[in-house]
């Protein structure tokens, strides 16, 4: 579904992504993890063709990123971090507008919004939704075209525990139907529950990749969170230094 090979991208003197390689298989939930600024969003943007990599190549649904024909996006869903919408637009209008961008049959509106608990919000301005509702709407809109592969950047940021569970359950159902999901997240419980495989990034470089269990095992830590801190260099030396200086 997706191959990334030796991807590098820098902004000026900052190396955002360096020699990154990974593959994502069909029907897999793949987690891209790492602290803010590790290069996760840049990686997603290079894959989607909204940013041009300095070197390396990415192949999405069999198409190299530098020659992505717009029609390939019929089969791709995207939720960017911090989604913004036109002022004063209502949920139903935004839904209709987003659905109109796709040629192929889109999801049933009430059914899809219902799955995210938004069925009663059709007439509400998007700006009046709570942060959690807006986030759920962004995920719903990424799935509007029944994609084969969906990119979810910080999918449950701002969601309450119940809403997070609901989104997880829904994504698992879709995965079981063959949807491929690539997500970024800062919640390790989410990652452990959802992801078949993960890749932890630090300063644009891959620290480790594998299933959550493998990653925990290799790190010699007890939990995913500890393993994550271990691989992103935020446990041990750095933390102790901070504590010492305080």
């Amino acid at each position: 579904m997706l191959n990334v090979l030796n991807l590098s991208k820098s902004y000026g003197s900052t190396q955002a992504v360096k020699e990154l390689s990974f593959d994502v298989n069909k029907g897999e939930i793949f987690g891209l993890l790492g602290p803010n600024g590790a290069g996760k969003s840049t990686t997603l943007e290079c894959i989607l063709g909204t940013k041009k990599p300095d070197s390396g190549r990415t192949i999405l649904l069999g198409n190299p990123a530098d020659s992505l024909h717009p029609s390939i996006f019929e089969n791709i869903g995207v939720q960017f971090q911090d989604s913004h919408y036109p002022d004063l637009i209502r949920v139903g209008e935004l839904y209709a507008m987003t659905a109109s961008l796709y040629r192929k049959a889109t999801q049933n509106r009430d059914e899809l919004l219902g799955l995210f608990g938004l069925e009663g919000k059709i007439k509400q301005p998007v700006s009046k939704l709570s942060g959690g509702e807006r986030q759920k709407l962004a995920v719903a809109l990424a799935l509007i075209n029944n994609p084969e592969i969906v990119f979810l950047d910080e999918l449950t940021a701002g969601l309450d525990p119940r809403a997070r569970r609901e989104v997880w359950q829904y994504l698992e159902k879709l995965r079981d139907k063959g949807l491929t999901i690539i997500l970024t997240s800062h919640f390790m419980d989410e990652v452990t529950r959802l992801c078949d495989r993960i890749l932890i990034m630090q300063n644009g470089v891959a620290s480790i990749t594998g299933s959550p269990d493998e990653v925990i095992k290799q790190s010699g830590q007890k939990t995913m969170e500890d393993a994550y801190l271990y691989y992103t260099g935020e446990k041990g030396k750095y933390n102790e230094n901070i504590i010492c200086t305080v």
């Binding site: 063709g49 717009p70 996006f73 960017f80 913004h84 002022d87 209709a96 987003t98 109109s100």
Partner: protein, 247 residues
């Protein structure tokens, strides 16, 4: 086409809901029409003129809607869509963000046309306005003025890296063109010095052109305004196409 239609409908709905476009593009020109009508109705434009003040002012007031949509709504909305990364979001769908910009143009075009029709209707129905020139060149010129002003709007959208800059550039373009071009305050009552400054603006040239045609002035030559308007449209569009960024 279906996509364009849905986007157009949404853009128009949002513009009506937002209301400032309705206020500045429709209600304001109607108000100015009423004011001019009440103040000057049936008075000759000047001593010995064979047309009235109303006939002279009518084509200018008709362009207020073009000004409001082209120099405010279009650049502000497009710059906003870029800043909010809505155009970027379109890049990862099968639909080009250019379709959204097209829908934005259409929605503003319809607003401008409605504005002009309101001005026409009020002039004809309330103040017995009669059109003296020939209709076809007038309508053609109207769309030339529209193309020219809208191209300035898209140039502003292309030049502005963010909403703040877009706001400043819009104000710089919009208010002088609105007040000094003759659209609101009749060009004829301005002092000579101001008239000179005014005639540098494409909007003024557009109004001169529309006036010349609608009043059927025998000595009027449309060549200069037509060239200025066409050049403005061509240059601004060409520059915009080169420098426009989706994000």
């Amino acid at each position: 086409m279906r996509t364009l239609f849905v986007l157009f409908k949404t853009e128009l709905t949002l513009a009506l809901r937002e209301f400032s476009g309705v206020l500045f593009g429709m209600i304001m020109p109607l108000g100015i029409m009423m004011l001019l009508g009440i103040l000057y109705n049936n008075k000759p434009a000047f001593e010995g003129a064979d047309y009235t003040m109303m006939q002279q002012a009518f084509p200018a007031v008709m362009t207020i809607g073009i000004c409001a949509t082209g120099l405010m709504s279009i650049p502000l909305t497009i710059a906003g869509y870029r800043e909010k990364k809505i155009l970027k979001r379109f890049k990862v769908t099968p639909t080009s963000p250019a379709v959204l910009i097209g829908a934005q143009f259409l929605s503003n075009l319809v607003t401008a046309l409605i504005s002009s029709l309101i001005v026409c209707a009020s002039a004809v129905l309330v103040f017995d306005y009669s059109f003296r020139g020939s209709l076809f060149p007038f309508i053609t010129s109207y769309f030339l003025v529209l193309a020219s002003i809208y191209s300035i709007g898209i140039l502003i959208a292309s030049l502005s890296p963010n909403m703040k800059t877009a706001n400043i550039l819009c104000s710089i373009a919009y208010f002088p063109m609105l007040f000094l071009s003759g659209a609101t305050i009749p060009y004829e009552i301005m002092p000579a010095g101001l008239q000179k400054v005014s005639s540098l603006m494409p909007m003024s040239q557009g109004i001169i052109l529309l006036k010349g045609i609608s009043l059927d002035i025998p000595v009027f030559s449309p060549v200069k305004p037509v060239i200025i308007l066409a050049l403005t449209a061509l240059i601004c569009t060409a520059v915009s196409v080169r420098i426009f960024r989706w994000e």
